[in-house]
């Protein structure tokens, strides 16, 4: 980036490549943009009178919670609003001198991909599963430039090199399903940048990725921007990502701009009340309140538990490989405490939860409320549900859409034959009140509630049997930060009231740090570090734990990340042939119950 930085964006120094040139005309300008959806009740506005400009080399973050209209704005710029219901009802979008809102679809097609490119949240669904990576890249290039197949392929290869994908020649011939999520997202970036567009719109590009992979992708975007000067519109709900990437920020709510400011000013002196609330709700590392260690009796004990899934192959369907989802994991959860399992996708944390509630078979010993799971018969298993309950990640999926929420909360009571109709409905009313809903909402259906309310309903359902332990499997991950903060508060309150223990499963280090008493870090099916929250977060010993903590985006633009080697290593596969298996780690107590793995489950880790 050779353009001079400007004083207008304070802190441009901290963001190399983020300094826009003031003298230049904007690459993209949006003036008074209004978008509406046609409903039976008339036009309903989605975006209202939105204006902003974007200059070369600049990263503009549009931040906001779900329903704020940020994604619809991106689609409007791309000319991809779903016709005919959603339409631009006012304002202009200008790319250079061209007014995009006035362009016919045929002209718009030549601009899309060539001058404005977009990356979506879910890289798997944005790649065609039946075409090779190379074919898709070459097609994208040839759609806009009259080059030969060979030349297009050569440029595709360059593009893959530019996004630092390992073995680029080999990748060209691979299909999307053969790549990991992070690799797919890099392919998407390669495809978007292959034609050197003036504007790149990235809509939640890292939301579906693990935190360490997110780190790689963000680093990559920043480096590419420095090299090419592409202006980026980054749409995100994550204030940590905003702080790291943005030069300027627009905060949106209910389709309207709440605040627009350079990133440093937004974080240090937010003007709008909503921005302040949003920033306050962001979970930050190091905020967890210190609580006394719980020394009560354990409500659940997991000893040497192994879960493997067979992979069958060949004519006779013999088991040739196993997925080693959980390998010799042991921990216990005490009454009234919050025990967190943290790790990235595929590390086996959810599988443990499923084993504990009997949804997947396991080897080893799981003891809940004094009973060993594998010894139980059908009636015993049913009875066990009174002691252990689960709250799932996606509350919409976990509720039966065709049953009223009152019936669903009362269902555990019906199943276990507790109380009569009257006492049950009184109990449902009480539970609803406890989770912050009102009793007259009992006859409504799940779709009539917001995401946060639905998760409250799931929590109420889990509480109705008054269990000793509730497993919360990524229960706040799908929620907006402000909603997330309130649900976490609710969990804490309920823990005090009911004395229930939580097994809190999450990939989000900041959330875990906020809520947990004890933490176990999982990697490839094994626990690599376990201890009190203060031990694990205050004095992380295992390289993987450190890597996880370092990868968390810090919601503070002044934060200077300690120089760390670029992370490019892929997580090794948990699939092993029958008879072989992963290297087993041994946990060693380094003092005060702080357990750290001495053996390394993956040599790649220390090398990375």
């Amino acid at each position: 980036m050779t353009l001079a930085s400007d004083a207008e964006t304070t802190g441009a120094e901290a963001h190399p490549g983020a300094g826009p040139a003031p003298g230049q005309p904007p690459v993209l300008s949006v003036e008074g943009l209004s978008i509406s959806v046609r409903t039976e009740a008339g036009l309903k506005p989605l975006v209202n009178d939105l204006s902003f400009t974007l200059r070369r080399g600049e990263t503009l973050c549009i931040a906001g919670e779900s329903g704020s209209g940020k994604s619809i704005t991106a689609l409007a710029i791309m000319g991809l609003l779903p016709p005919p219901a959603v339409r631009i009802t006012g304002g202009r979008i200008r790319l250079g001198e061209t007014d995009l809102t006035a362009l016919p679809e045929a002209r718009m097609r030549t601009i899309r991909g060539d001058r404005i490119a977009m990356i979506f949240q879910e890289p798997m669904t944005s790649l065609n599963p039946v075409l090779t990576i190379g074919a898709q890249l070459a097609e994208a290039i040839r759609a806009h430039e009259p080059v030969s197949r060979g030349a297009a392929r050569a440029r595709a290869l360059d593009a893959l090199r530019a996004v630092r994908l390992s073995q680029p020649e080999h990748r060209l011939n691979q299909y999307p399903h053969e790549l990991s999520g992070g690799m797919r997202q890099r392919v998407m970036i390669a495809m978007a940048l292959a034609l050197r567009p003036e504007v790149l719109i990235a809509d939640e590009p890292t939301t579906a990725l693990d935190v360490t992979v997110q780190r790689e992708v963000l680093d990559l975007l920043r480096d590419l921007q420095r090299d090419t000067g592409t202006a980026i519109i980054l749409i995100t709900h994550d204030m940590g990502v905003v702080a790291e990437m943005a030069s300027r920020v627009i905060v949106m709510r209910h389709g309207a701009m709440v605040e627009q400011a350079p990133v440093h000013r937004l974080f240090s002196r937010p003007e709008a009340e909503y921005t302040r609330q949003l920033l306050a709700a962001v979970p930050r590392l190091g905020q967890g309140a210190t609580r006394e260690a719980v020394a009560d009796r354990p409500v659940a004990r997991v000893e040497d538990v192994v879960v493997r899934f067979p992979l069958k192959a060949g004519l006779l369907g013999r088991t040739t490989h196993h997925v080693h989802a959980v390998e010799h994991v042991s921990f216990d959860i005490r009454k009234g405490e919050t025990f967190a399992l943290v790790g990235e996708s595929g590390c086996g944390k959810s599988t443990i939860a499923k084993a504990m509630v009997g949804l997947v078979p396991h080897e080893g010993r799981i003891e809940v409320a004094g009973k060993v799971l594998s010894d139980l018969d059908g009636a015993g298993r049913k009875d066990l549900r009174r002691h252990i309950q689960m709250v799932f990640q996606d509350p919409m999926a976990a509720l039966d859409p065709r049953m009223t929420i009152g019936d669903q909360i009362a269902e555990p009571l019906v199943i276990h034959g507790i109380g009569d109709t009257e006492s049950r409905s009184a109990r449902v009313a009480d539970l609803l009140a406890r989770v912050g809903l009102s009793a007259d909402q009992m006859t409504r259906y799940p779709h009539e509630f917001s995401g946060g309310q639905r998760q409250r309903i799931c929590i109420a359902r889990a509480l109705s049997l008054q269990p000793d332990l509730i497993i919360a499997d990524e229960s706040v991950s799908a929620l907006d930060v402000s909603v997330q903060a309130r649900v976490l508060d609710l969990l804490r309150t309920l823990q005090r009231e009911f004395g229930v223990a939580f097994l809190f499963i999450s990939h989000d280090m900041a959330v875990v740090e906020n809520i947990s008493d004890r933490v176990a870090v999982m990697y490839l099916g094994q626990i690599v570090e376990m201890g009190l929250r203060s031990q694990v977060f205050g004095n992380p010993q295992h390289p993987y734990t450190r890597r996880l903590i370092e990868a968390v985006p810090v919601p503070d633009p002044a934060h200077v990340r300690p120089p760390s080697p670029r992370l490019t290593g892929e997580v090794p596969s948990p699939v092993h042939a029958v008879g072989s298996g992963p290297v087993r780690v041994r946990l060693v107590d380094i003092g005060g119950g702080h357990m750290v793995a001495s053996g390394d489950p993956a040599p790649a880790l220390s090398a990375g």
Partner: protein, 295 residues
Amino acid sequence: MTDVTAADPARRPASALRRLIRRRLALLGAVLIVLAVAGAVLAPWIAPFAPDEQLFDGLTLEGAPLPPDGRFLFGTDLLGRDLFTRILYGARTSLIIGIVANGMALVIGTLVGITAGYFRGWIGAVLMRFTDLMMAFPALLLAICLAAIFQPSLWIVAMVIALVNWVQAARVIYTETTSLAERDFIAAERTLGAGTGRILFLHILPHLVPTIIVWGTLGISTTVLLEATLSFLGVGVQPPTPSWGNIIFENQTWFQTAPWLVFIPGAAIILLALAFNLVGDALREVLDPTQRGRD
């Protein structure tokens, strides 16, 4: 309209019924069904002639059937019988086939599909391989064999048709159940301790209702026509008992000179299928809580 109210959920039947009535097309469908049922039940009283009465003035001097006029509302057939009368009496057969045989097929198909889809494993494998076998076997041949074994009568024909027609429904229900069984709310039910019956009938079945309704309405015309085919081959409803299907088959050779003999019973079948389709469609929307408030 007994079929409609019977399918209503026990919960707030009045409001669901009211919303059903508010839909004009559904109302039209319901009226058509009521007319068909009334015609079938009241045939002996409203039909101008006896169903197998060969009228001396029912044919032209050359022996050709008469087109519709004032005396013969729908014209007459090859044997000089009044078509209107035969359509009325034929409605009895066709409605029984369309509702009973089709309903039986749906019940069998749903039970097989839901069981195989939820349990998978060897139960699912056995059930679905059997379904595939049934699908591969020519339905007509099977129907002929079954009909030959039993003495042909209306109820036997209905049973035979049900035994041939459950297969497709089972396949579709199976596929849908497998995907439903993977959903989180089913896993949530299992963690609550819900038994298999509860999960199958309280949490999976309601989600299959739209599919069942669509298959049910499609099945009406299929079954009515299958009955006609069987009648044509002599293993269905025995002449002179009329059914809409066998009226078409008896008269198809005269299609060129006396098209009403094929068009009128054909239109009757189509209208009946359409009527069930309209009611089924509305029913599907009314039973879906996410569609509330869009009436």
